[in-house]
Amino acid sequence: MAVKIIKSKNFVETDFVESLAEVPVEEYKPWPENDKLKIVGKPVSRIDAYEKVSGTASYTTDKFLPNMVYGKILRSPHPNAILKNLNTEKAEKLEGVLKILSFKNCPEISWYYDTSLLFDKNLRYQGDEVACVAAISERIALEALKLIEVEYETLPFVTTASEAMMSESPKVHGWGNILDGKPDTYVRGDVEKGFNEADQIIEEEFNTQVVVHNPTEVHCSLANWDDDKLTIWDSTQAIFSVRDTVAASLKIPSSKVRVIKKFMGGGFGSKLEAGKHTIMAALISRDIGKPVFISVDRKEMNLAVGNRPDSNQKLKIGVKKDGTITALSHISYGSVGAYPDSAGCSWPLKTIYLCPNVKTEEYSVLTNSGRSRAMRAPGHVQGTFALEAIIDDAAEKIGMDPLEFRLKNYAETDQVFNVPYTSKKLKDAYLKGAEIIRWKRRNKTPGSQNSEVKNGIGMATQIWWGGGGPPAYAALKLNRDSSINVFAGSQDLGTGTYTFIAQVAAEVLEIPVEKIKVDIGDTDFPYCPLSGGSMTAPSVAPAIRDAAEQMKGKLISAAAAILNLPEEELMYSQGLVSSIKEKDKKISITEIVSKTRNRELITNGAREKNPDGYATNSFGVQFADVSVDTLTGKVKVNKIAAAYDIGRTLNPKTLYNQIHGGIIQGLGYALFEERLLDRKTGKVLTTNLHSYKIPTIKDAPEIEIAIVSQFDPLNSSIGVKGVGEPAIIPTAAAIGNAVYNAIGKRIRSLPITPDKIIKALYS
């Protein structure tokens, strides 16, 4: 099979990543619409559901090895402190304690882009790592933590971005509190000119809160050495990143590290990077010669393993009477916590609506609090809330229907890169969503209902990348009984990776899904990208197709040799290779494989390259129907209608489920989720699932979904675009706009809690 190496540029979360990738030379025609397919696009039950419902699915927390010991981490109780002294003597004497790792005995391992160390004496947030104890039981390890004597020199601290921006404020790092010392800026056209051309200019300020991923499975790793080979079971979205970070940290070759993850209890972005606990487990395990399991608890989950940064956003929009947007500007400040990360949230504003004059400034600000990490559509969720509110307000100002206003400013091409989209069916999504929610019912005059409980309808648009790309590989093994094993170093976060892989292989080879065994989540398998950025399906599915198509080719050439017929005369269908001319000349794949001496046939598939000169994005819209109780201030979301262009649907069953999940998480973000940090003490107040509220089954609204796309004809031979992130992006914005439509007052800060509604209504 011919392959070639190319330079490939893909979007990973919010960055373009350029890499060399091996891609197939041969390119396959895109499949037709799903109703012409047999297995892809059908509601196939998850192939890993049995393990999950029977309790036998082994997550990292469920892995036990003989002799395994447990590690627990001591964390700084202060928002900013210097570690003066550490006395571990008493803790070491505790029966059952095997090792205590701290700055005293740990090699210097650089962390957070060289701004800190694995164990650093500068502790910059409540939760920063001080020491790690390994003991024969978790309880002993926890007991030992209490016996460690620590002397801290506490320092002044800053907890909010606005405070941190002031010159006299304490500095989180010597180099200042603004990442890179300046904002990330973007300019298109001339905004001043644009605002001068406008008939109306609207300026508004929005605030969004910090929220925490809180996946159900805590972050955890189990490390075990055999001689110089290290195996790590890890609850991670990125097995290869973990492998490489561990190898670099321990200064050992990547080939000596194997990372395994078969099942994981969610990630939502928090598990995209190797955790400090993973390195600690590997170091201690090497030292004591026993497997070491380190997990964090729910409090640590809420302090130290990431969050969605908050935002303060100042938006300005210029519009003409006819609805043309003449200029947009955006300045945002977001606190990324104590170590570098990005809090930018301008992207939706740069691209969704047609506008020649755009200017954005994104400040990522450091504060003495837990560092942010990518969280399901980082930046876009915050940015879309503000953008879609001001878009509605602009429409109202010029007396235009918000939907009509959006259609008027519809962008046919990507305005940042000035290239066409591989596909864009947002218009269809708008119309479909409006039909489902019955848009015409909305209050022409917001807040005009006279009842105690007021209803409202609102909408919001989303854009995300989600086109995936190379490199992504898969190996396929065809066995004598015509069953198939697929091996790919991808991850299933609960997103259905196992299942779509089986479906794609089954579709190409026209055999039942039950005959396909999928094995993923192991760095010993062919490389696949991390599972983030909604790029798993669009990257991996085409590689599976390539491997399966090659297998077809192999079967035909083997059949040609066996049947003594030229290859061109043979065709493959449903497990049989037969002659086109003489119908009775045929041979089954079982016979073909049996006749080969190696008992199996193997192929390797690769993801093809993305087309040059195009952008691939997913598009969607959500419409919210809400009721607001004007006496209690409580918002009830009655229904969300979601219409999406996400290319090809691989599996409606898992797809709809994933969209439900995004919407309901978005609802939590809109109405009640919030990490509260006490500004006086610098400590987090919401450290458990009682105080940090996540949606329950009772919060779930009615959800109706429409997929308006068949497939993306250009992005890949499968034509699927990722949906994980698109699902959450517009929810809070749609709910915010619906609340405005109900009560006629704009709540410009999230979450939209009853007190804010009451204040808006009665003050």
Partner: protein
């Protein structure tokens, strides 16, 4: 063997000594006592570790265990019996991940001391199967995709089982209330509801989206 038939008495001094040296799970640890007869040493170990006998019936199997009194039922299920279907998500009685049946009632096993479950019937997710055959509720969760990552799923299924054991014809409201103590961060809620409705016989085949 239960508490009452326990053959030994132990002195307050030894008890304190034991607890202070090893405040732990079920590991037998050597206390700081030396030069005593082997038998005495063995006994001392047990006393020093503060262990107590526990007679637990899990999924119809009887287990005789020695455990530290502070061990929770969830810890015994997961660490001792390796029944890891029961998950610890919060370990604080806030999420329902550790839900098991105790004499047919749903309880949070992270909030119950294992000793308090002595002589009672515990059913975990593993206990719902017959051989390799899934229970109808489990089948409903597969068919209606009542899960994503699956980590909360054992707790959800056990909670559903508790509802249906009490009332085979629950109203939708009763189902929602019964399930509201089980958090699902993936928010597979619409399909969880659908799965429970199907298990109660309210849905017909083919409505699997």
């Amino acid at each position: 063997m239960n508490d009452k038939s326990s053959p030994r008495k132990f002195s307050r001094r030894k008890f304190v000594q034991g607890v202070s040296t090893t405040i732990i799970g079920s590991y037998v640890l050597t206390p700081g006592v030396s030069k005593i007869s082997e038998k005495l040493e063995a006994e001392t170990k047990e006393i020093a570790s503060g262990k107590k006998p526990l007679n637990l019936i899990v999924n119809k199997v009887r287990y005789e265990l020695m455990i530290s009194p502070e061990t929770t039922l969830a810890e015994v299920l997961r660490n001792e019996l390796k029944l890891t279907g029961t998950k610890l998500i919060c370990n604080h009685g806030e999420c329902g991940g550790c839900t098991v049946l105790l004499n047919g009632e749903a309880i949070y096993s992270c909030q119950m001391l294992a000793l308090d479950a002595g002589e009672k019937e515990v059913t975990t997710i593993e206990g719902l199967l017959t051989g390799e055959e899934l229970h109808p509720i489990q089948k409903a969760f597969v068919e209606h995709d009542g899960l994503q990552c699956g980590y909360c799923t054992p707790g959800q299924i056990i909670a559903a089982q508790a509802i249906l054991l009490k009332n085979s014809q629950p109203s939708k409201e009763e189902i929602l209330t019964g399930m509201s103590g089980n958090l699902c961060r993936c928010a597979a809620y619409p399909n969880i509801l659908k799965s429970v409705l199907a298990a109660a016989g309210y849905l017909t085949e083919g409505t699997n989206r």
